[in-house]
């Protein structure tokens, strides 16, 4: 009996893995249809946070050479725009369930990379941007509903998502910096 059990045990030890996969969820944009005219409404420059990573893994935020450690704070301030500065994103009043009519930010983050950029750096930059957005969503969830974002139900989550939509767009790739 014990022999058979040992045999099965060893089989399972060899054939299975314990680790669960974790990762950053992203949604890729669909390929634009050439027959459909492109949306010519350009996003206002003040609403875009431009983040570039070059082949030497250096970070350029809004044209400024930036340390990686500062990125999260810069993104946080950019989305929040606490002092309503004219160079930072504008707000737009929309109706959201649970919130009513609120002024939500029109901020967009644009991330660009060279083809020589290291994947690890690219992912770390994405992580910082997602983290800055997640922090703001969590704050508003706590403020409005008194519970952390993770524990909200689906409807409330999507309302909070709309409050801080902040798409992180990946520009159409350019083949530079080989």
């Amino acid at each position: 009996m014990a022999d058979i059990a040992f045999l099965l045990l060893i089989f399972f030890l060899a054939a299975t893995t314990m680790d669960s996969d974790t990762g950053l969820m992203r949604q890729l944009p669909a390929i634009p249809d050439p027959n459909v005219p492109q949306d010519v409404n350009k996003i206002n420059d003040r609403n875009i946070l431009e983040v570039k990573v070059n082949k030497d893994n250096l970070l350029l935020v809004e044209g400024q050479l930036t340390e990686f450690d500062q990125l999260r704070e810069i993104a946080h301030n950019f989305i929040l725009n606490p002092n309503d500065e004219p160079s930072m994103p504008e707000r737009e009043v929309v109706y959201l369930p649970f919130f009513g009519n609120v002024a939500v930010t029109k901020a967009v983050i644009s991330l660009q990379n060279d083809i020589g950029t290291k994947y690890g750096v690219y992912l770390a930059v994405q992580n910082e941007l997602i983290a800055a957005r997640a922090k703001l969503r969590d704050d508003v969830a706590r403020q409005e509903f008194g519970i952390p974002y993770d524990r909200l139900d689906e409807d409330r989550k999507s309302a909070v998502d709309d409050y801080y939509k902040v798409p992180i767009s990946e520009a159409e790739p350019k083949r530079i910096g080989d």
Binding site: A5, F12, A15, T16, T17, D21, T22, G23, A30, N113
Partner: protein, 159 residues
């Protein structure tokens, strides 16, 4: 009373092994419950990058895996040291991704097809060129939900 007088040497009795199967079965069931089947043998070196915001992949059945990295040493004679794409159990080229996605999508239920997720397990030292190419191929195959695999840490210490 002579019956109770101990005679001869003392012998140590062997431990009873009658409960051994129970214990082993217990361990077996534990492993069956907490582990999942290994789907593929990874043939490339993948050192998953660190991040703090990773979400746990809940439905593994909806996920397809793409591995990108330097081939393992035993394959380097054949495939060289440049990062390669691995789909299922073999090295593939960019052009094969579309077929791979179509094939994976075919295996899902009608209801699950829209929820299909592609998990990208990419070595942290890979250059973005090949990653961008793969992303473009996925867009063409309309597999738009992707997940960049990472290991969750409290603070990123190395890229």
């Amino acid at each position: 009373m002579a019956r109770f007088v101990k005679t001869g040497k003392k012998t140590i009795k062997a431990i009873s092994t009658s409960s051994l199967p129970d214990i082993v079965f217990m361990i077996l069931f534990f492993f069956m419950a907490v582990t999942t089947m290994r789907e593929t043998d990874v043939m490339v070196t993948v050192r998953i990058p660190e991040a703090t915001e990773g979400k746990v992949l809940e439905k593994k059945s909806l996920a397809s895996f793409i591995y990108i990295g330097e081939p393992l040493e035993s394959f380097q004679a054949l495939y060289g040291k440049e990062p390669k794409i691995q789909l299922n159990d073999s090295f593939k080229e960019l052009a094969d991704i579309q077929d791979f996605i179509a094939q994976e999508r075919e295996q899902l239920n009608e209801a699950d097809k829209a929820k299909m997720l592609v998990v990208l397990k990419i070595d942290r030292d890979t250059k973005m060129g090949i990653v961008t190419d793969v992303k473009q191929a996925l867009r063409r195959a309309s597999a738009l939900k992707i997940m960049y695999a990472n290991t969750n840490v409290d603070k990123i210490t190395s890229f």
